[in-house]
Amino acid sequence: MRQIVLTLTFILLFAVSSSHAQRRYKDCRETRSSIGISAKISTNGVGGDFYWQVRPRFVVRAGYETMRFNYNYEINEKKISLDTKFKFQTGAATLTAGYQFLGWMFVTGGVGTLFLEPKAHGVPSKGIEYGDIILSPETVGDLSVRIKPQTKVSPYMALGFGKMVPKRRGVSFGVELGAYYMGAPKLEVNATGMLAPSMDPEHIAMLEDQVDQFKFYPVIKFNLSVKLFTFNKR
């Protein structure tokens, strides 16, 4: 449901913006070019870009973003309680280009080496009963799951709101809504002891089917850009 609302909002915003599409961008006569830096915070991490405003509406950016966080939770399944440490790591080294087609709207796209690699490691919090004995957590074994994007280099596409880079003033602010295409995620499962069958290729394939639909990594990005140099193009 949340996705649907988000999508409808997305479409509505675009529809409203397009009603003004015929309006000419007033500063089209601008011929100045600039170089600057951006700080960014997004669902794919925190980082920065170097940008080159090649033309007034066309910007090339190279940047880096990264994010890591840990989260502990418990998986309870088949008589087993697994104390699970979830380590989420993502980020990207990006090379993108953007086009400011309206005064407050732009489109941007490019490629990124996506560092998305969530992983979880679970160890039994206690033994499990088996007949008259309690099988120790070591006997039960442990389980590690790592998710990797299918593609090493991911295309990125986003629609932006606000200014991609500063125009007159030295600072600008923009928001991007978009996604990396990472392909169907691949799972790497390692397990020991009684959990070893969780590594069966057949079982992994079944789990991969579950995440197969997540081919896009959604991105909401906030950019704060600062112009460093401006030079005239003649």
Partner: protein
């Protein structure tokens, strides 16, 4: 500009389609809407399994009921396949299959050590100590005596008593006549059983050995004593107590032989062997899947003569090369033999690679694959149960390879929780329909597929449903 906007609309709609296409409501469900599991759970793996055969003097399994118990360091470490621990195990048919507690791992720092003891109506179980320092399956033969046989020996014993160097005196200082001569039988811990006695009155019994200087240790063990401690020369006994006189030779060393059996492919084998060392002959069987790394342990040799000779006796159509190997010193860590198993090309037998999966009938969530080692036997269906020669082997993770003659019927039995479950196996495709329609809802063959490989061997894919698996 209009054209550009149409493209952009398309892009946005594509992105929207991507977002809504992720149907998170179906995550964690299979195509039928049933919950799927992140974890796949195996049965616990046992570092060691023990097949204990209780046999008479001729090596035949005892058919009378026995009550077996365990003592020693790991006496409480033996469990059934279902993880049950009993103080005593009732053995019917002379076989007991137990496993090492899966929480215990065997390594050089943790040698397994337990004593088998027991009793039965009119039967005497000769206690035996098991030591194991390498994981794997052990087949242990424990000797059991029938009272009637012992009584028949009395006349022979009486004749030889005068020449025996052992004297046991009763509390009233009379010489006690033995029930049986046990010379040549070892207790697994370096001691040799000499004589079996029964206390006639309560009190202190004393043992004397004329040539005591020849032994490192000697004395009396009752049937319930902890045999890891040295025996005593005198002991308080109650009337009716059974006891043995044992000796341990001087400068006796314990050795073992590491055995590596290879073959060109993974093959389920059962190979008999004898080890001649220190004037004794040790007999046993090696079970497993090649390449099989195992050890023959508890070989005792005098320090003056540490050599041994091992001879393998594979069942048809296997051949072992070499079949006899001399070992210079069984007490060194490098005491190791390698042999390669081949098959006799002239044999009409063909290799069948069995892939067996077991299901619990009443609870489909317990559809465990057979992932541990079970004991199996295979014999011709054409021969009656009494006369049938069984080829034994280990079913490891549901897989076993064995040889059969095409277009024949065989009986395949598998030991689960110390009970044999029999199934018909056919090498005749025409019989598969019949095999599939045997049994009842609690125990039946739900799949039987036989395919021939280019090398003349066959693959057998069999699925059985058996309620016994629900308890594992």
């Amino acid at each position: 500009m209009k054209n550009f906007n149409i493209k952009l609309y398309g892009l946005v709609l594509l992105a929207a389609a991507c977002l809504v296409s992720c149907d998170i409501n179906n995550i964690g469900k299979d195509e039928n809407g049933d919950d799927i599991s992140l974890l796949r759970l195996d049965l616990p793996k046992f570092d060691a399994t023990y097949l204990m055969n209780f046999v008479d003097e001729n090596g035949q399994l005892i058919t009378s009921d026995l009550n077996i118990s365990f003592a020693g360091k790991n006496g409480n470490s033996l469990v059934t396949e279902a993880g049950r621990i009993n103080e005593t195990y009732r053995v019917v048919g002379g076989m007991l299959n137990l496993n090492l507690n899966p929480n215990i791992k065997i390594n050089s720092q943790n040698q397994i050590d337990f004593q088998i003891k027991g009793a039965g109506a009119g039967m005497v179980v000769l206690p035996y100590i098991v030591k194991q320092s390498l994981s794997g399956e052990r087949i242990i033969n424990v000797e059991v005596f029938n009272w009637q046989t012992l009584q028949m020996q009395q006349s022979t014993i009486s004749k030889n008593r005068a020449t025996s160097p052992i004297t046991v005196t009763t509390p009233d200082h009379k010489n006690l006549s033995p029930l049986a001569v046990l010379s040549g039988k070892d207790n697994g811990n370096g001691y040799e059983y000499k004589m079996l006695y029964m206390a006639t009155v309560s009190g202190e019994y004393t043992c004397l050995i004329a040539n005591a200087g020849e032994y490192d240790s000697w004395g009396i063990y009752t049937m319930s004593d902890d045999m890891t401690s040295a025996p005593k020369q005198s002991l308080q006994l109650n009337s009716g107590d059974l006891f043995t006189v044992v000796t341990k030779a001087k400068n006796l060393l314990e050795g073992k032989i590491k055995v590596q059996l290879n073959s060109g492919s993974k093959t389920s084998i059962s190979v008999g062997y004898t080890v001649e060392a220190g004037g004794r002959t040790y007999r046993g069987t090696l079970n497993g899947i090649t390449p099989l790394t195992t050890a023959i342990e508890q070989i005792y040799v005098p320090s003056s003569d540490k050599k041994a000779k091992i001879t393998f006796y594979p069942t048809a159509p296997y051949k072992l090369d070499p079949s006899t190997i001399d070992i210079a010193d069984v007490t060194t860590a490098g005491s190791k033999v390698d042999a390669t198993i081949t098959t006799n090309a002239a044999s009409p037998m063909r290799r069948y690679d069995l892939d067996l999966i077991g299901y619990c009938a009443t609870d489909k969530s317990l559809t465990y694959a057979i992932t541990k080692t079970f004991q199996y036997s295979l014999g011709s269906k054409e021969i009656s149960d009494d006369a049938r020669q069984w080829n034994n082997g280990a079913l490891v993770s549901g897989k076993a390879s064995f040889y059969m003659i095409p277009n024949q019927r065989y009986t395949f039995r598998i030991s689960v929780n110390n009970k044999w479950y029999k199934y018909d196996i056919t090498t005749n495709p025409k019989d598969i329909y019949e095999i599939m329609h045997q049994g009842d809802a609690a125990e039946y063959v739900s799949k039987y597929e036989m395919t021939e490989n280019t090398d003349g061997s066959y693959n057998l894919k069999v699925e059985i449903t058996n309620d016994e698996l629900c308890d594992l």
